[in-house]
Amino acid sequence: MSAKIERDAQGRKQARYTPWLLLVPGLLWLIWFFYLPLYSLFRMSLSTKPSRFAVPEFGWAWSNYSQAFSQYGAQFQRSFTYALAATIAALLIAYPIAYVIAFRGGRYRNVLLGLVVVPFFTNFLIRTLAWKTILGNQGPLINLLHTIGVLGPNETLLRTPIAVIGGLTYNFLPFMVLPIYVSLEKIDPRLLDAARDLYSHTWRGFRKIIIPLSLPGVFAGSLLVFIPAAGDFVNSYYLGNAKTTMIGSVVQDQFLVQNNYPIAAALSFVFIAIVMVVVAIYSRLLGTEEIA
């Protein structure tokens, strides 16, 4: 009898520690590869460099932040505008795709999902460079647009903001499709049957049932597209021009060309802060407590 109680007590004790034990690998990983680097980056952002090649010294140099903010405001603004445009475009493209796969995919569902993921097997850089060919002056698209008169004879696609936003949309599209698909796929089709039984037409059923229930997917997808798109510099470098520089390029330039690590670190922190504020506002607006 007492042995059983003892065993139970031991079991409860174990049960209490199990979650922590399960968290250990993840926590260690986060501490080593996220929090410590973040901390050292933060210290760097408050450091000064007496000369260009000297080791930066910590010194509460908040001026790095005001400099980062005032000098590169335009690039910050541009990054978030492009990222917002790319997120909206990705949403408009991804939602119908996810909808068709979830509700009309049938036995081809896995194949269709596979097709969404296939571009991931190609390197990010290669995909962007491929876009350069597609949008280029000898590419098929530009001839078509010239013929139907969308673009004037001297207008080009490559090296324009449109090309940068297009590249961002394309590169991050699967991140939008997959979460929306997952949330759509969870919806019980009987809810739609019920709506139809109650004489609701298709559009109303879509508006009242599908859209609200897929919002968690939309929320997750938009963040997965918006955040990396805002920090990207590859698309603006290869598809844009000298006037489409995004904040990622500035950070890269400050780190690797100017060797100005403190400013680069401050820029990174300003970026993180803005992203966090945007995400907080967005989650409040969408009211998706269940995901948070």
Partner: protein, 375 residues
């Protein structure tokens, strides 16, 4: 329902694995490829730029000297490479290399400012006598004690005449081109050509002197007359017509003009720049003897000619033209190619961008970065 659930879970797991795999693979590959240190004591490890080595040269070196080579093409940009080696060399630690090749101004920084180069071993360098006199005493290394040019090149304007519709002769012509154009993201090349157009002495650059050149560049960018800044990627764009004209390096153009006769290269009437990429031995290397033998090998005109036939830049070695002719075939044609073997008249229009002190360099770099991100 249950089956659906399962398939979703399976799907998510597989996607997770696939995406994770894709994300991790490049770093694993990088980790495997990065370690270039050769365990063999009788071997050197060299860093260089892509496209700077022929197919047969390394084997020929091994055969001639018995020294092994780990050759890595991991220099894509002077600043990036500097940022890569800085953490170790600053603390006096090894970077696993016995030699690297960097452009004049960066060689100046390595030799004179941070002092990370060790002297070449003169006893192992009998072929140094073949160095072209014009390159023998640059301001950053007057006696070539620490460095020897690997190769040299010119910066000028490349254009696709099918798109420009006329010849380009000056910087003004270049700015007036209506199609897309690009300048180089290497500050000294781009600002250098603008300063020359402005009639300034490039060998003694000052920030004050460069003021009008910077303003002119800035205006051309904000007017959209110059479309973008490029590294090496202008080469493909000129061939495909995505660029009508670009500031360009001679060797790159030498390679594309053969495929596309519409692409031409010109030194602007106001002058072009001449630069060299210089071989140096880092202070951390324990094999300066072997590394000196490596560079000595390529200062033999016969070996230098073979190298030139592959890379098609200007060789710093005297007597290469004669050896190219002896090689015959396509290599012999290079001896007459003004991009590979420029005439004295062309060389006379070229200037070398002089050294900048630290404070001046920061002002140049900041202004250039400001223009690059303008808008």
């Amino acid at each position: 329902m249950a089956r659906q659930n399962l398939s979703r879970r399976q799907f998510l797991t597989r996607t997770g694995l696939a995406v994770g795999g894709v994300a991790i693979a490049p770093s694993l590959l990088a980790a495997c490829g990065g370690g270039g240190s050769d365990a063999n004591k009788n071997a050197v490890s060299i860093s260089n730029w892509p496209g700077y080595m022929g197919k047969t040269d390394i084997a020929a070196f091994k055969k001639a000297t018995g020294i092994g080579v780990t050759y890595t093409e991991d220099i894509n940009d002077n600043n990036e490479y500097f940022a890569k080696i800085q953490p170790n060399l600053q603390k006096g630690k090894s970077i696993g290399r016995d030699g690297f090749v960097l452009t004049d101004w960066m060689a100046n920084r390595i030799i004179n400012e941070v002092k990370w180069a060790q002297p070449l071993v003169a006893a192992k360098l009998p072929n140094k006598v073949n160095l072209r006199p014009a390159l023998a005493s640059p301001a950053f290394d007057p006696k070539r004690k620490f460095s020897l040019p690997w190769t040299s090149g010119m910066t000028g304007i490349a254009y696709n005449i099918a798109l420009t519709g006329k010849e380009i002769k000056t910087i003004d012509d270049f700015i007036a081109v209506s199609g897309p154009t690009s300048v180089l993201s290497e500050m000294r090349d781009t600002v250098g050509l603008f300063m020359l157009a402005d009639g300034k002495d490039l060998t003694k650059p000052t920030y004050e002197n460069a003021g009008t050149a910077f303003n002119r560049l800035e205006k051309a960018i904000s007017d959209g007359a110059i479309t973008s800044f490029n590294g090496n990627d202008y080469v493909a764009d000129l061939g495909t017509g995505n660029l009508a004209a670009a500031f360009a390096w001679s060797g790159d153009v030498a390679q594309i003009t053969r495929d596309n006769p519409d692409v031409r290269f010109v030194i602007p009437e106001s002058g072009g720049t001449l630069w060299s990429d210089n071989f140096m031995i880092p202070i951390s290397s324990e094999k300066p003897d072997l590394a000196s033998e490596w560079i000595n090998f390529f200062y033999d005109p016969v070996n230098a000619a073979v190298l030139t036939s592959f890379i098609q830049y200007i060789s710093p070695v005297e007597g290469v033209a004669e050896e190219l002719i002896k090689l015959g075939g396509d290599a012999a044609k290079l001896a007459d190619d003004p991009l590979v073997n420029p005439t004295e008249a062309v060389l006379a229009t070229l200037s070398i961008f002089g050294p900048l002190n630290e404070a001046e360099e920061i002002r140049f770099d900041n202004r250039f970065a400001e223009i690059q991100g303008a808008g």
